[in-house]
Every structure is written in structure tokens, then in C-alpha cells.
Amino acid sequence: MIQLENVTKVYRMGKVEVQALHGIDLTIDDGELVAIMGPSGSGKTTLMNILGCLDVPTSGRYLLDGTDASRLSDNRLAKIRSRKIGFVFQSFNLVARTSAVRNVELPLVYAGIRGRRNPARQALAQVGLGDREKHMPNELSGGQQQRVAIARALINDPTLLLADEPTGNLDTAASAEILRLLGALNDLGRTVVIITHEEEVAAFAKRVVRMRDGRIESDRVQRSRTEATA
């Protein structure tokens, strides 16, 4: 379970202070499929950084699975990312010149887990890329790369799968495929949070949180959501 309690974030840009988040309260239960929407500058990226333990709030509390992640050292944050968070980025962010299966293994490397090859293969098979293990990122299409990234995000069995504009760099067909994959993972009980500014993506989520100017503008459950279609 994820709980944000009155979270604020203030950035210093030189002498100017920018308040990116004004007191966010948000609870996401296990197994939810949430889209966080908002125009650029709305604070959704800042929120994602905090949810993903890439950054800590200026004030307020962030509880991830009961662990307070709001005042941790760099090292502890890295450990939490390693165990509880799976990232999917807009630009895929695979490590270059490193085969698909090795990319998928990486989180296990940093978690210090041995016997990585088999889980990595299974994860690749799960996203439908069992036959692309040895391919380098530049030998894969955008959709395929994003699926490798999803496999990588899943490998350490995270509490939260965090996708930042996962379809932003993909064509319609590939986007639909990625969304369907995320939906399928959610159906298996995985908590998925998608950050997006595309209405089509948001329409596919079970719950939509809209942000504006560092505040939550609306938070509603969608009864009639569109299932992603190929």
C-alpha cells in the first residue's frame, strides 16, 4: 500500500524557490491501476520521482508498504528502489550495448541475487520476447524495447510498477500493446501507476488522478474504462 500524507516539494532554482507540490494526500491500494494526469508543470513528474524513491519530499510523509521513505539516505533509497519499485520510462532507458536478457538481469545484480539467468528469461517470455534474449537494444523496435523495460521492472517482484509516459515514444499499435501488457500485469494483482498526459492512456486506467499547479485537482474511479485494443 502507498500513502502520501501532506507531501510538499520545493526546488531551488538559483535564488528562486519553486514549489512543485503543495500538500499532496494520496493513497493507492495494492492491485490498483492508476493514471496520474496533468499538463507539464503540474507536478506530476515530481510526484513520480517521490513515488519512485528517486527523490524525497521537502515535508510530509511517504509510506511505501509501511516503510517511511520520506527521510532516507541515498543508500537506503537505492535499496528500496531495488526491492520495491519497477520503472518503465518514456525513452525505454535500456543500458546500451547490453543484451535484452542482461538488461533484465540488472536489478537482480544490484540486489545481490544469484541465479539470475532463469528468472530473466522467464520475465522476457512473460512479455513475449522469449526469442529476443541476445538482442541488443538497438536491434529491437521501440515496442520491443519497452517490453524489455517492463520485464526489467518486473524482475524483482516490485510493490509498485511505475510507468512514466510509457507510450510517449511509441506508435499506436505498439502503444496499445504496451497498455494491454500493463493491464494484464494489473489483472495479475500488480499495482501499476502510469504518469501520462494522454487522455487515451488515462481512459484505460481504473482510477484517474488529475493534477494542476502542484495540487490534486480530481481523483475519480472510472467505471466505464476503455479496454486497450490492438
Binding site: 520521482n49 528517486l54 528502489r81 520503472f87 535500456l94 543500458v95 546500451a96 545484480v109 544490484y110 540486489a111
Partner: protein
């Protein structure tokens, strides 16, 4: 993250920029190779010179010196009785043999040619003690010394000037020295000038026919039992002669004791300093190599900022990133060190193969690679890797993931 994985990641990083990695290593390679090669050459020179001198290193030469102390006793000559005293085995455990020698300049003539030579009169052991060899005929023997035979052994320069290139051509001919006739019974092998322009004959033959009678000797050659016994033998010589010449104060000594051994020690000392100095100059290129590694590691960290961000996002700790880049620079410098060692050893071996073809002077010259120079230069390469990689790696480790991920 275990070490094997870290090394694998580092190697992959280096392979990705093969040319750049090789060029960076080149600085280390050249530095290590030149340190090893120069130390090897220095050692080669030292052992080659020592090898040539070693047979003579246990010789002690005693010559008269002019006593120059005002009011002191008049200096005494070295005489046969001094030689006899030194030959007494009871006087020293460290002296194996003692021979006297008289010498002077004289013309050696045939009917057609004359050659200015150093004439030496000594015993039959002279050739042996001076580590000489015959190229034709034989040296005079003990019987000829006793019978004051009118025989002479010529140095190769004298023989070839007077009788032609073939040393055997001089045998059985006669030469005139100081208007006296001597039969040539042997020609010695070359030892280099001025040792080749000599004529050697029995001690009393030289006294009777050339230098005049008396029991004076110009030189006493003593042979220590071994090179390491030279200092002890020198002390014995000084003790015996000072006693015989009644000298109490070293300043009044009327003889000089010299040995190649002590000169050799001095030579070796100078050479060691020179070798270390040249190696230190070569080590400057290692320093330049270190700057190359530092530079390339900084570039690598900047270039891979985004990769660092990704790795951090998926759970890499600071330490993991630090290790990755440290190991990368250690592998870079260490590999350079290993290749440099190979190159340095290879060039040394090549040098020892090629040196003899450069002429007789280099016949015994062989660069000798020493284990300490190899170990030390490899250790220095690793230290370079550690130091030059430390700063960039630390910078990488401290990158904040959000900013690193945003880096284009």
C-alpha cells in the same frame, strides 16, 4: 554486486570504446615498457662489465709510491724480499699467490721494423694471474725463469706489426730489445690496448739484459683466494709491508695498494644510480599515462551520465557505481601494465638476441629483466588506475538519479 559481475561490466564498457581504450592504455604501456627496458639495460651493462672484470677482481696490485713526508724516513723500494715475505703462507690466509714484476718502455726490433713496447719481466704465473691466453706458442715456464732464458712472449699488436697477421709466423724468430736478442716463444691473445703492446719475459732475464740488476721490483701482483677476500688480503698486504718498511703512520706509506674490486664497487654504485635515474625519467611517461586515464575516465563518466541514472533508478547504490568505474579504470591501467610488461620483456629479449651482432664489445651484453622492476611497475599501474579512476568514479557515484536520467 559481486566482483566478477563488476569486472564483466567494466570490460564491456572498455570494449565498447576499443580504440579509445587502447590509446589510453598506450600511455601506461609505453611508461611500463620503458621502465622495465631501461632497468634491464642498466643491469645488462653491469653484469656484462662485471663478467669481464670478475676474473681480475681478486687481483691486488702493489706499486711503490714516493714518500713525500718532510723529515720522514726515505722511501724504500719494493724488493724481492718483500715479495718473498708476502708469499709466506703464514702471513695471510687470504692471499693465494704473489708474483713480482719489473717493467719499462723499450724498442722491440727486427731487421725491418721497430715497435715501442712495454717490457715486463715476471714469473711463469704472470699469464695465469692476468687471465691471459695464448694464440700461438706457449708462455715461458718455471725452468726458463730459473735459467734466465733469453725468451720473450709478445702481445698481439707487437707480433702482428713485426711479423704479420698470423701470430704463428712470429714463433722461433728473434727480436732485439735494448740491443739484446731474444727468441719469440709465444704470442698472446688480445685483451685490448695498452695490454696488447707488451713483451713479457722471465724476471731475471729482464733484469740482466734490459733494466739492469738489483732486486727492485716495479710491481707486486697478489691474488686473493676469492673476490670477496680482497679487502682482507689488502689489509694483510699493508700489514706485512708496513712491518717490513717500518712504517707506523699511514701517511708515511711508501707503497700503494690497488684492487679492481674496489673500483668495481664504485663503478657498480654509479651505474645503479644511473639506472635508477633513467628509470625515474621513464616513470614520467607513466605519470602522463595516468593523466590520460584520468581524462578518459572523466569523459566516460560524462558520456554515460544517463546510463548511471538508469542503473541508479533500478537499484544501484553509490558504492556499486563507484566500483563499476573504479574497476573500469583499474582494468584499463592494469591491462596497460600487463601489455607494457610484455613489451618491455620482449624488447629486452630482442636486445639480448641482437646485441652480439653489433660487434665483440656487445658479445656478453644482455639486458636483464629484474623481477622487482616488473612487480613495481605493475603495482604502479594499478595505483594509477586507482588514483586516476577514483575522482571520476566518485563523481559518477554522487550523481543524483533524477538529474542523471534527464541528461541527454
Amino acid at each position: 554486486m559481486n566482483l566478477r559481475e563488476a569486472v564483466r561490466i567494466a570490460l564491456r564498457g572498455l570494449r565498447a570504446n576499443r580504440l579509445r581504450s587502447v590509446l589510453t592504455m598506450l600511455g601506461i604501456i609505453i611508461g611500463v615498457a620503458s621502465v622495465i627496458l631501461l632497468v634491464a639495460i642498466g643491469n645488462g651493462v653491469q653484469s656484462s662489465v662485471n663478467e669481464k672484470i670478475q676474473p681480475l677482481a681478486n687481483l691486488i696490485t702493489i706499486v711503490p709510491s714516493v714518500g713525500n713526508v718532510p723529515g720522514g724516513a726515505p722511501p724504500k723500494d719494493l724488493i724481492d724480499a718483500d715479495v718473498a715475505a708476502l708469499q709466506d703462507p703464514a702471513m695471510s690466509r687470504d692471499i693465494a699467490a704473489v708474483i713480482p714484476a719489473v717493467s719499462g718502455k723499450a724498442l722491440t726490433e727486427t731487421d725491418s721494423y721497430r715497435f715501442r713496447t712495454t717490457v715486463i719481466g715476471s714469473t711463469d704465473r704472470w699469464l695465469d694471474l692476468n687471465n691471459g691466453d695464448m694464440s700461438a706458442g706457449s708462455f715461458f715456464d718455471d725452468a726458463q725463469v730459473r735459467s734466465t732464458a733469453r725468451v720473450v712472449v709478445l702481445g698481439p699488436s707487437v707480433a702482428s706489426y713485426l711479423f704479420g697477421k698470423d701470430p704463428a709466423a712470429a714463433l722461433s724468430h728473434t727480436v732485439r730489445i735494448n740491443r739484446q736478442t731474444f727468441r719469440v716463444i709465444g704470442v698472446m691473445q688480445s685483451v685490448g690496448e695498452p695490454g696488447d703492446s707488451i713483451a713479457v719475459m722471465p724476471l731475471n732475464t729482464a733484469r740482466r739484459y734490459i733494466f739492469g740488476g738489483g732486486d727492485k721490483v716495479n710491481q707486486i701482483i697478489a691474488q686473493a683466494t676469492q673476490a670477496s677476500a680482497v679487502p682482507a688480503a689488502e689489509n694483510d698486504v699493508i700489514r706485512v709491508l708496513s712491518d717490513r718498511h717500518r712504517i707506523k703512520d699511514t701517511a708515511n706509506r711508501d707503497f700503494e695498494v690497488q684492487s679492481l674490486r674496489s673500483r668495481l664497487d664504485t663503478f657498480n654504485q654509479i651505474l645503479r644510480v644511473l639506472t635508477l635515474f633513467t628509470a625515474a625519467v621513464a616513470a614520467i611517461s607513466l605519470f602522463v599515462g595516468a593523466i590520460g586515464v584520468l581524462n578518459i575516465m572523466l569523459v566516460s563518466v560524462t558520456e554515460r551520465t544517463r546510463e548511471i541514472g538508469i542503473r541508479k533508478a533500478i537499484g544501484a547504490t553509490r558504492r556499486a557505481i563507484l566500483e563499476q568505474f573504479l574497476i573500469e579504470s583499474l582494468v584499463l591501467a592494469g591491462l596497460g601494465g600487463i601489455i607494457g610488461i610484455g613489451l618491455g620483456v620482449g624488447l629486452s629479449v630482442l636486445g639480448s638476441v641482437l646485441a652480439p651482432t653489433l660487434g665483440p664489445t656487445f658479445a656478453t651484453f644482455a639486458p636483464a629483466v629484474t623481477i622487482p622492476s616488473v612487480v613495481l611497475s605493475f603495482a604502479i599501474s594499478l595505483v594509477i588506475g586507482l588514483v586516476a579512476g577514483g575522482y571520476p568514479a566518485n563523481r559518477a557515484a554522487r550523481l543524483r538519479p533524477i538529474e542523471a536520467l534527464r541528461y541527454q
